[in-house]
Every structure is written in C-alpha cells, then in structure tokens.
Symmetry: C2
Subunit: 356 residues, 2 copies
C-alpha cells in the first residue's frame, strides 16, 4: 500500500508520471535505449526540452518577451545567479525576508552587491507575510519568496512595483493562478510541484538581462543558457524529462484553473479541521496561511507520541514539522489527492476523540 | 533488440543498473514510494549518498585527506569552481589545452584570475597530447584533461609536479588505474562512465582549500558542500542514486583492475581493425589514442553513406563523429560490452570486402 505522502520536498508526484519515468529508464521514446544513456542532442530528447519549455510559457500565459531555461544546481544556485545577472555594480537590490530560503537568497546577494532588506517577518518567527512596505523605486529589482515551505506562509497578493519583480516560486509554482507578466524573473527548483530534484526552472524577461557591466562566468550567465537553448552544457536530462511528464499531467487534467481549485479544497479541508479540533492550532497568521505547507501544533505536546501512532497506523508519511517550527507540517503539493488529506483529517478527529 | 550503443555521452549504462533505476522510480528501498518523491534527508537516501561517496574513495584508494562531494551543474560548472576555489587573488593557474573542454575550462579561469596556458595541441587540431612542457613551480595549480572526448586523445602518463594537480576526468573516470594520490582535485560529470547526466563528482584534497582570500558564494564553495555532506541544498537525488548503482556494478565485477583489462581489449580490437582495414585510418597520434573515444575516418569519404547503411543494419547506434572532426567516433565506455565492438569491427570488414 502506497503511503499518503505529505513530504515537504522532494514531494509527491502523480502515479502515472512515476510509471512513465520508470518506463523511460528502460525504453525511451521507442528507441530501445534508456533515457539515461542517450545523447541530450538526440532529436528524441530535444523534443522533450522544447515541449517542457513551451508548456511552462503556456501555463504562465507569456509570450516571446520571456525565455524559459532549465539549469542544474537547485534554487540555491539561483540565489547567487539572480544578483549576478541583475544587480549592477553601482545599483542596489531590494529583498523581502520571509524565512530561511529568503534569508539565504539575501546572504548571496550581499556577497555580490548592495542589498537592502526592505521588509521582514523575522520578528515573529516568520509567522506572517510583511505588507505595506515601501519599495525603493531606484533598486535594480525586488526579490520575494512566494511560499515559505518551512513556516507555512504564502503571499496571497503580490507587491505592485515598477521595478523588476523577481520571485522564488520553488514551493508553490503552478499551484495557483498568478499574473506571470507582473514578474521579470520567476525561478523554482523542480522538486515540489514540477518534478524530481536535480532540475531548476528559470523564466526571465529578456529586457532585464545584460545590464550589469559584469564580466560573467558562462554557467552563471542566463544569456549563455538562453542562447544554448538550455543545452550550453549537458542538462540534467532525466529530471527535466520528469518535469515534462508532470507538466503534461497538469495540462491534461485542466491546467492551473483545475489545480488551483483542487488545492483550495485540500487546504480548506485541513485548515478547517485544525481550527475546529480542540487539540490543534495553526502556527501562522490566518490570512497568510500557505495552501501548500500546512503547519500546526497540538496544544498537548505530551500527547504527540499518541498522535504519531495514529497517523502512522493510517499509512501517512512525512508530516513531522521542520525542526525550526516543530509539531506538524502537511505538504499538499499538486499531486497529493484530496483523499490523503481526508485520511489525515480523520486521524486528527480520532486523536481528539481519544484524548480531548 | 537493444542497439549497440556507442554514444559519446550521456553514454551506455549497464542493463542491470537501468533495471534497478527503473524499479526505484516506483518503489525505492521497499518504502512503497518512488525515489523521485522522497526527502533527500530520509535515512533511506542518506545511505545512498554515504555509500556512493565511500565507494569513490575506495576505487581511488584514498584516505581521509580527501573529500568527495556531489554537485549539480555538470563539469562546466567545475570549470569555474576550480579557479574560484584554488586560484588566489595574486596567484596564477597553469592549464594544458588539449581540446574543446580544456579550452572552456581555460576561458572560465581567465575570468577569475591570472591563467597561463603552458602547453597546447591546438596547432594540430588537438590530435596529440603535449609532452615535456615546463610546469611553473609557483602556480596555484596545474589543470589537465585526462581524456578528450571530441578528439579521441588520452593522457597515458600524467605530468609529475609539486604544485596541486587538478584533472577533469569526465570521460574516462574509473576506466583505468590512476594514482589518485598524485592529484589534489579530480572532477567528472557522471554521464559517461559513472551514471546519467545531472550529477557531478568532485574529489578534493582538503589541504588545497580555503587559501584564496576570496569572499565566496555558497554554492560555489567546495567547503560549504563538504560541510553539508553534499546536502547543503537538495542534491540531484536520482542521478546520484544511479551513479551508486553503476559504482556498485563496477565494484562487484572486479573494480578498476577488471574494467581496465576489458577496456583495453575493446580498444585493441577496434584500433587493430582501423589499422588493418584498407578503408579506414585513425585521426590521432598512436601513442595518445583514447581507450574511451575512438575517432576514425574512411579514406573514401564518398562511400560514407554505404558504410552508414551497413552499421545501421547491424543495429549500431551513435558512431557519427563530432562535427569538429567528422567521420566516426565509437565511444567504448565501461558498460559497453566487447560483443558490441566485435559487431562494429564486423561491419568494417564487410564494408572493406564490398568496396575496397
């Protein structure tokens, strides 16, 4: 029996995607060769790369003013590449600090150039999303993190600004409708809603590039990867293919409009139970609650071992909270079925019945 | 029928590795979850990372003075990371230019600091390995490329030097015995002898690190990855797992001593035919011929379509040469069986019989 997989990332993927991925390890595209042992320059693989990049633009509803590239190195590499490509020698960058990942992005930007943290929720353990802050009009860009995996907060209304808006969407990409045209750069590690670990997606508006005056290392230069159609060097072939399968699955089932509805249902079901159940409470300001990562605690921590027993018996996997928050975190990524959330809710009810 | 796969990279992998990889996409380590959807921090995956790093040290016969890390981004990222970590602000680096990949490494090093090309075979289209060059005793390191995939040359005797020796072994790692202790840093993209695309191995002697005085970006800093046990950020989980399977396959079958013998047999079989056959000739100085990538031309280029028909009919795949060299290139990576080379040799004999 497959466990109900609430892993915070790498996270659950659709069963049909896993099946196709498994088959491609043996026989890819009827070549009688494994996808793991063919040239990335083969026509069969070039199709994969093209289609993946094309679906991303389709889902984001953007045109040729944007380019999509696939890279290795994870979102952590983007923490450095964003300022390396956008922060000019005499310019400045503005950052909003909403958690561990935003803090890491800020750390890298500071190594590269003048970096200002214009808002932060660190004062309350990142349990809310800062709002109403002033955005400097002369900064090279504003960097935000749309969803904070560890703390369970999510930006519901993106800031309005005339400077380029850059967003780390690693943990909620393609989970809801966003106006992608409001952003100059969106990046995401694949391993939550888009696929497995090992591939990172960057979508960038071409007009923000090439302005820093910096002499750039090839692998750190977005323009090099754009020119090379994400094949400047050998790309992470298999992880990218699995993102294609995942994107195809999303598109086939109804795209963003469909998944946004499903994700809202899942989040409502779980948050309603947290608010109703006398033994649990949420850790985050209600209006900023993430639909992807639901963090909650029990008000009888001495009973955690009892609750742990109940959900483990229900074949639930990976809902222990991050060490910085404790308690529980249920990640409701795109591929998680509503049924799994119902099973979790049932265990919470059972726990209440036994111990309240 | 599976083709005889002579792909230059990503290259052929052992059938049993592909089968295990395929299975892990559905059910990894009896977890009833796919390897693609579990946390890299799970105990099940931590074992993978530990064992892979440990087998690498075992195969290289080195001790605790070395660290092995896995990274994303390919060897091309190492072209920048090597000078970023080893080339001090006032120091210099020495490079030997033996082809396209060495040239790319040199290009990146020049962006970072004072870089000298102390020997090159560019004068004869990289058809030989430079020898007898003087190595500056005051350089921070000497960078060489052990095997040149595109031109089909291979260093048979590594230079002796007292300065740190750095080697890109992407295309012949674990194909033959080397004295790893003579090197301060060895790196390799996995996608030839070690596994699929998407993972890069770096083995570094700790005493060469931390000396540049450079303020470093986290993802570019070897020491950050060493400290994080290759888990500073989410690693390319699946590609690394497939390298473990490939390393286990190598070890189980007899390790380096075994594969070196097999690889020599394969190379001898093909080079002997090239030298014997009146319609073919090799492109490389004999003493520098690569045992991994065998480049050859026909002296009747007008008959290439005829030869192409013969080898395609024999179910041979991917022996067209790189566009810089033309003709043919047969890559004889570790997982390629001797039988496949025999099939290729038979087609060459058939071609000669019909057209000589």
């Amino acid at each position: 029996m497959k466990p109900h997989n609430f892993s915070a990332g790498p996270g659950i993927l659709p069963a049909e995607v896993l099946k196709q991925a498994s088959e491609a390890c043996i026989n890819f595209d009827n070549m009688n060769l494994s996808l793991l042992e063919i040239s990335h320059r083969s026509k069969n693989y070039e199709k994969v790369m093209e289609e993946a990049r094309s679906i991303i633009k389709e889902l984001f509803e953007v045109g040729d003013e944007y380019e999509v590239i696939y890279l290795g190195g994870g979102a952590s590499t983007q923490f450095a590449m964003v300022p390396y490509n956008l922060l000019s020698e005499n310019g400045s960058a503005a950052y909003v600090n909403t958690g561990v990942w935003a803090s890491k992005a800020i750390k890298e930007a500071k190594i590269i150039g003048n970096t200002k943290v214009i808002a932060s929720s660190e004062d309350k353990k990142f349990s809310y999303i800062p709002k109403g802050y002033e955005i400097p009009t002369d900064a090279d860009y504003l960097h935000i993190t749309s969803n904070n995996t560890i703390y369970g907060t999510q930006i519901k209304q993106f800031p309005k600004t005339n400077i380029p808006l850059v967003c780390d969407m690693s943990s909620d990409i393609f989970s809801r409708k966003v106006n992608a045209k409001d952003f100059s750069l969106i990046y995401a590690g694949a391993q939550k809603n888009m696929g497995p670990a090992g591939a990172t997606m960057v979508m960038v508006k071409k007009d923000v590039l090439g302005k820093t005056g910096r002499k750039m290392l090839s692998m750190m230069d977005y323009q090099v990867h754009i020119k090379g159609d994400s094949m400047y060097n050998t790309p992470p072939v298999f992880p990218i293919y699995v993102t294609l399968l995942t994107l195809q699955w999303l598109k086939k089932n109804g795209g963003i409009a469909w998944i946004e509805k499903v994700n809202q249902q899942k989040a409502d079901l779980l948050y309603n139970e947290i608010d109703r159940n006398s033994l649990f409470f949420g850790t985050v300001v209600k209006e900023d609650r993430s639909n992807m990562n639901v963090c909650f605690l029990t008000n009888k921590p001495e009973l955690e071992p009892e609750f742990d027993k109940i959900w483990k018996d229900a074949n639930i996997s990976s809902i222990r909270g991050h060490r910085d928050v404790g308690g529980y975190r249920a990640s409701l990524y795109n591929a998680l079925p509503l049924e799994s959330v119902q099973v979790l809710v049932d265990t919470m009810k059972e726990f209440e019945k036994k111990f309240a």
